[in-house]
C-alpha cells in the first residue's frame, strides 16, 4: 500500500505540468474543432460568396481561382456553403450533447444514489427506450410527422439520454458504496452535496467523455437525417444535405459532395479522439 517514493517526490508543479501538457492527437483534434467552431461563428463573414446565390448559367464547375471548391449544379459556391453549414453542423449537436449530458447526469446520479422506487421506475423506462431501434424510430417520426430540426434535436436528446443514464447510474452506485461516500453520509452532509461535490467529480471523466460521444453521435445522426432529406428544408446550406444534393455530381464536380463528406468525417473523428484523450487524462489525474 505504500506509495512509491518516486511518485511522492515528483509532487506539486512538476507533476501538474506533465499532466496538463497535451499530446499531439489532443492538439490536432482540439485544433480542428476550434477551427470548425470559428467557421461556425464567423464563417458567413469570411465566405467569398453568399451561400444561397445561384449562377444557373455557370452550373457545376471543378475548383478554380474563383471558386476554390468549385460550384454545384445551381452554380452555388461549395466553399461558402460548407462554411455556412458549419453552424448547423456543430450547433445542434452541441445542444443535443449538453441536453443529454445534463439530463443523464442528474437523473443517473439521482437513480444511483437514491435507489428505491425512483430508480426502479426510471430503469424500467430506460430499459424500454434502450431496446427500441432508436435511430430508425427517429427517422420515421421526424420524417412522417415533420416538425423540422427542433423536434429532431429534442427527440435525439431523449433517445441518447437512457444509455448515459444507465452508465452514470451504475458508476454512482459503485461510488456510493465506497468508504469516502459512506463517511460523507456519516458526517451528515446533505444529499445534494454528496451527489455533486463528492460523487460527481469521481465520475466526471465518464460524463465528459460521454458528452463528447453524444456530440459525435448527434453530429452523425443529424447530418444523416439531412442526407436522407429529413429535418431541413431543401436548399439549406448543410453538410448532410449537400452530400445528398451533390452525390450525382461525382463526375462533374466531385468536390461538391466529397468536401462536406470529409468535413463531417473530420469533425466526428476529431471529437471522438478528443473525447478519448480527455477521458484518459481525466481518469488518470
Amino acid at each position: 500500500m505504500s506509495v512509491m517514493p518516486g511518485a511522492v517526490r515528483l509532487g506539486g508543479r512538476a507533476r501538474r505540468l506533465r499532466r496538463t501538457r497535451p499530446g499531439p492527437v489532443t492538439l490536432l483534434s482540439g485544433g480542428i474543432l476550434a477551427l470548425m467552431a470559428a467557421a461556425a461563428l464567423f464563417g458567413t463573414w469570411v465566405a467569398p460568396y453568399d451561400p444561397a446565390a445561384q449562377d444557373l448559367a455557370l452550373g457545376a464547375t471543378t475548383p478554380g481561382w474563383a471558386h476554390w471548391a468549385g460550384t454545384d449544379e445551381l452554380g452555388r459556391d461549395v466553399l461558402s456553403r460548407c462554411l455556412a453549414g458549419a453552424r448547423s453542423a456543430l450547433l445542434w449537436p452541441l445542444v443535443v450533447a449538453l441536453g443529454t449530458c445534463a439530463m443523464s447526469t442528474s437523473l443517473g446520479l439521482l437513480a444511483g444514489y437514491r435507489r428505491g422506487w425512483i430508480d426502479a421506475v426510471m430503469m424500467r423506462v430506460v430499459d424500454l427506450l434502450i431496446a427500441m431501434p432508436g435511430l430508425l424510430m427517429l427517422i420515421v417520426l421526424v420524417g412522417v410527422l415533420g416538425g423540422g430540426i427542433g423536434w429532431a434535436v429534442l427527440a435525439m436528446a431523449v433517445l441518447f439520454t437512457p444509455g448515459d443514464i444507465r452508465v452514470v447510474r451504475s458508476l454512482t452506485m459503485a461510488q456510493r458504496e465506497l468508504a469516502y461516500a459512506e463517511a460523507a453520509r456519516t458526517l451528515g452532509l446533505g444529499r445534494a452535496r454528496i451527489m455533486f461535490r463528492h460523487l460527481l467529480p469521481n465520475i466526471a471523466p465518464t460524463v465528459v467523455a460521454g458528452a463528447l460521444l453524444s456530440f459525435v453521435a448527434a453530429l452523425v445522426a443529424l447530418s444523416g437525417l439531412s442526407f436522407l432529406g429529413i429535418g431541413l428544408p431543401a436548399g439549406t446550406p448543410d453538410w448532410g444535405l449537400m452530400i445528398e444534393e451533390n452525390r450525382g455530381l461525382l463526375d462533374l464536380n466531385p468536390w461538391a459532395a466529397v468536401v462536406p463528406a470529409a468535413l463531417v468525417t473530420i469533425a466526428a473523428t476529431a471529437a471522438t479522439l478528443l473525447g478519448d484523450q480527455l477521458f484518459e487524462r481525466l481518469s488518470d489525474a
Binding site: V25, D127, L128, A131, M132, P133, G134, L135, L136, M137, I139, V140, L141, G143, V144, L145, G146, V216, V220, S223, G224, F227, L228, G229, I230, G240, I243, E244, R247, L250, D251, P254, A257, V258, A261, A262, V264, T265, A268, T269, A271, T272, L273, D276
Partner: protein
C-alpha cells in the same frame, strides 16, 4: 425457466409498445387519417368511404388498433399507397439486395474485427495496438454515408475499380457491386467488434484463473479452446445486438448513397412519400428482428454461463 419466461415477456412487451407507437404514427401524422391513407389518389366521396371502411376508421381507436394488429400478425399490412401492391410483396422484392449487403458486411466485420481486436490485445501497448485502437476510434466516428461518398469517389470514380450505382444481376456482379457498400457498412461495425474483442481479451488475460490454469499445466489446446475461447464468447456475443441495430440503420444510408434498391431505401422513400402502410410494416419488422436477436443472445448466455442458468447473476 423463470429467466426465459422473463425475457420472453420483456420481448413481447417491447413489441407491443413498438406496435402502439407504429400505429400512433397514423393518428399523429399531419392531416386527416383518411387523407393520409388516400395518399396521391383523387379524393372523392366514394374513395373516402372506401378508405374509412378498409381501415375501420369509424370504429373507436382501440378496436381499430386491434383490427390492424390482427392483420399485421397475419402478415397483412395493407397495400402500398403508391404502387398499390401488397406491402409484403413490395418488401419481399427488396429483401435480397439488403440481405446480401448485410450478410456481406457481417462477414467483413467479423473477418477484420475479431483478428484485429485479438492482435491489439496480444500486443497491448505496442505500436500495433496503438495503431489498431486509433483506427478503430476513427472508423467508429465516420458516418456511413460520408464513408460511402468517399469510397465512391476514391475507388469507383477516380480509380474505376468498382461500379458506381446499382446492385448487379449475376452473383459475380452482385459481389463487385456490393463490395463498396458492404465496406461502408462494415467500417463502423468492425470498429465496435475490434474494441469489444480487445477489451474481452485483455480482461481475460488479467484473470487469475487463466494464470492458474497455466500454472498447473493445462494443455495448450485445452487452454485456448476450453478457457480463452469459451470465456470470451460471452462478452463478444453481447455485441451481436449492437451490430444488428447498426446494420439496420446503416443500411438506410448506404443503400441511398449507392443507389441500391433495398429495404432501407424503401423505408426512406416511403417516409418521404408518407406511404404509411409500408413504413409501419418496416418499423414493426425491424423491431421484431432486433427483439428476436436480443432474445437469442440472452438464450446463448443461458447456454454458456452456468451462473445465469442457476439465477446467480443477471445476464
Amino acid at each position: 425457466m423463470a429467466f426465459v419466461a422473463r425475457r420472453l415477456a420483456a420481448a413481447l412487451l417491447l413489441l407491443g409498445v413498438l406496435s402502439v407507437l407504429t400505429y400512433a404514427l397514423l393518428a399523429l401524422a399531419p392531416g386527416d387519417p383518411e387523407q393520409v391513407l388516400l395518399g396521391p389518389r383523387p379524393s372523392t366521396a366514394e374513395s373516402r368511404a372506401a378508405v374509412r371502411a378498409q381501415y375501420h376508421l369509424d370504429d373507436p381507436l382501440p378496436v381499430r388498433y386491434a383490427a390492424w394488429l390482427g392483420d399485421a400478425v397475419r402478415g397483412d399490412f395493407g397495400a402500398s399507397l403508391y404502387s398499390r401492391e401488397p406491402v409484403t410483396r413490395v418488401i419481399a422484392d427488396r429483401l435480397p439486395v439488403t440481405a446480401g449487403l448485410a450478410g456481406y458486411a457481417i462477414v467483413l466485420t467479423l473477418a477484420v474485427g475479431l483478428p484485429a481486436g485479438l492482435a491489439a490485445a496480444m500486443r497491448r501497448g505496442g505500436p500495433l495496438d496503438r495503431g489498431i485502437t486509433l483506427s478503430a476510434l476513427v472508423a467508429l466516428a465516420i458516418p456511413p454515408f460520408a464513408m460511402s461518398i468517399l469510397l465512391l469517389y476514391g475507388f469507383a470514380v477516380t480509380l474505376g475499380w468498382f461500379p458506381v450505382f446499382g446492385a448487379g444481376e449475376t452473383f459475380a456482379e452482385r459481389v463487385t457491386h456490393l463490395t463498396l457498400p458492404a465496406i461502408a457498412l462494415a467500417t463502423g461495425q468492425a470498429a465496435v467488434v475490434v474494441r469489444q474483442m480487445r477489451a474481452a481479451a485483455l480482461d481475460l488475460a488479467g484473470q487469475d484463473y487463466m494464470t492458474f490454469a497455466r500454472a498447473r499445466g493445462v494443455g495448450r489446446a485445452h487452454y485456448w479452446i476450453g478457457y480463452a475461447l469459451r470465456n470470451t464468447a460471452l462478452p463478444v456475443l453481447t455485441v451481436g445486438g449492437l451490430l444488428l441495430a447498426a446494420n439496420l440503420t446503416g443500411a438506410l444510408f448506404v443503400e441511398r448513397a449507392f443507389g441500391l434498391h433495398g429495404v432501407g431505401e424503401l423505408l426512406v422513400s416511403a417516409v418521404g412519400q408518407k406511404d404509411l402502410p409500408v413504413v409501419q410494416a418496416l418499423v414493426l419488422m425491424g423491431g421484431a428482428v432486433v427483439v428476436a436477436v436480443n432474445l437469442l443472445i440472452d438464450l446463448a448466455y443461458l447456454a454458456v454461463d452456468p451462473r445465469v442458468r442457476h439465477g446467480a447473476v443477471a445476464a
